[in-house]
Symmetry: C2
Amino acid sequence: MLAINTSETSPYMQSFRQESRGGRALDDRLQQASERRLEAKEHVFCEGDQRTHVYRVEDGVIAIYKTLFDGRRRIIDFAYPGDYIGLGVLGEHIMSAQATCASKVRCFSASALESLAETDASLALKLYKSVCQDLVAARSLLVTVGQRSAIERVAAFLLALHRRGGEGSKGVVKLAMRRSDIADLLGLTIETVSRTLTKLREMQVIDVEQGGTTVKLRDVPRLADLANE
Amino acid sequence: MLAINTSETSPYMQSFRQESRGGRALDDRLQQASERRLEAKEHVFCEGDQRTHVYRVEDGVIAIYKTLFDGRRRIIDFAYPGDYIGLGVLGEHIMSAQATCASKVRCFSASALESLAETDASLALKLYKSVCQDLVAARSLLVTVGQRSAIERVAAFLLALHRRGGEGSKGVVKLAMRRSDIADLLGLTIETVSRTLTKLREMQVIDVEQGGTTVKLRDVPRLADLANE
DNA sequence: AACGAATTGTGAGAGTTTGTAACAGGGCCT
DNA sequence: AGGCCCTGTTACAAACTCTCACAATTCGTT
């Protein structure tokens, strides 16, 4: 979902990626696909909730996270339009899902999906490939978060967002989330994220625009160099 | 695979977990399952290799990792006996797989597996669930690595190994890997790993035995507290 | 247009980790 | 036995991030 390696850059799951981004991968056999709108910070589901549905993000960004005992929040993934959340869970959710900005999701009955998949190999394969995407995203993020310095992490994060945005974005990345969300994703504090963005700006690698909600990548090769990937 | 949340602790994939640990989950339809022995530091495959096979670990520990531009190594997962590696890859591998100690793997033809899965829903579902396990492991590790302090990370790592070992282990954890492997998994240096183990020993939470290759957990609740999960 | 709340940005000191270096221990070879 | 290599441990200075504090900006509401 964070998709540092998506269709363009990774040999994983190319065919399915296109299919799912098209938006009609899983749901054409499932009737009860209702829509749900969420405001920023509203939850799709929480840790411990019974897992009744699978969701496809239609609009916005959904943060998948886990709360630690001391109250800190560890974001594990951002789900963007076209991504599915809630796959691969059996009983109850062990992660929470929360909108970082105004968002929209489509809901599918999990039990209906599963019973269909038991006899439908192509659907089961789609589930497989969808989870493979998530796995690639999680491992990519693992590489990013394992980086030592704050600059490396932030640079890798911006690059990942840029790659996901595709070629049409022309280096303009909309963050669509707070500094705290970025910090909890990268394992940094909001102050460090803020300072690091300032440092990247001073290095003339990026421009921060629109009150910090949009980042323009001025020097992508340099950024990739800083990201060390 | 690191399996901080495995059958005991997570609602994910319980049924399959048992199935796959039994060892005969995917291969009973695949003839050409040859064995391969590896010495410590030998590779199963490397980044850029064509993906021809899927492997099941029979013995030992296989580290899945990615090499960064500056030569650092980021371990993304450890695969233990019963785990599959190489699933979910389409073209060429984007990660390397290397034995951390003397190991044994069984090789399955990837193309044979895939063509079978196209018409066999139950096999496709098994693939799905197997990758779900990996996803849970990756996300668990993400929580661990996102932790700030070295103690938290090492404590969580030891706990994960302990849970994987099962109840029979009686708090004795065999590391079966170098300090450098642990460091590259947790995003620390070998010195910090060593220092942290010493600190845990001084706190009387663990004992380090057999020349540092085995760790005995003296106070699991305390360790869980330190791990913050 | 103005106000208040929330978010973001910046600074200084404290704390932790890293990097460098030296040393100890075990295994293997001659 | 002795020497060599690899791994692991420990010490100390340097670098980095975190914490805490407060200023600046943005956004929504009045």
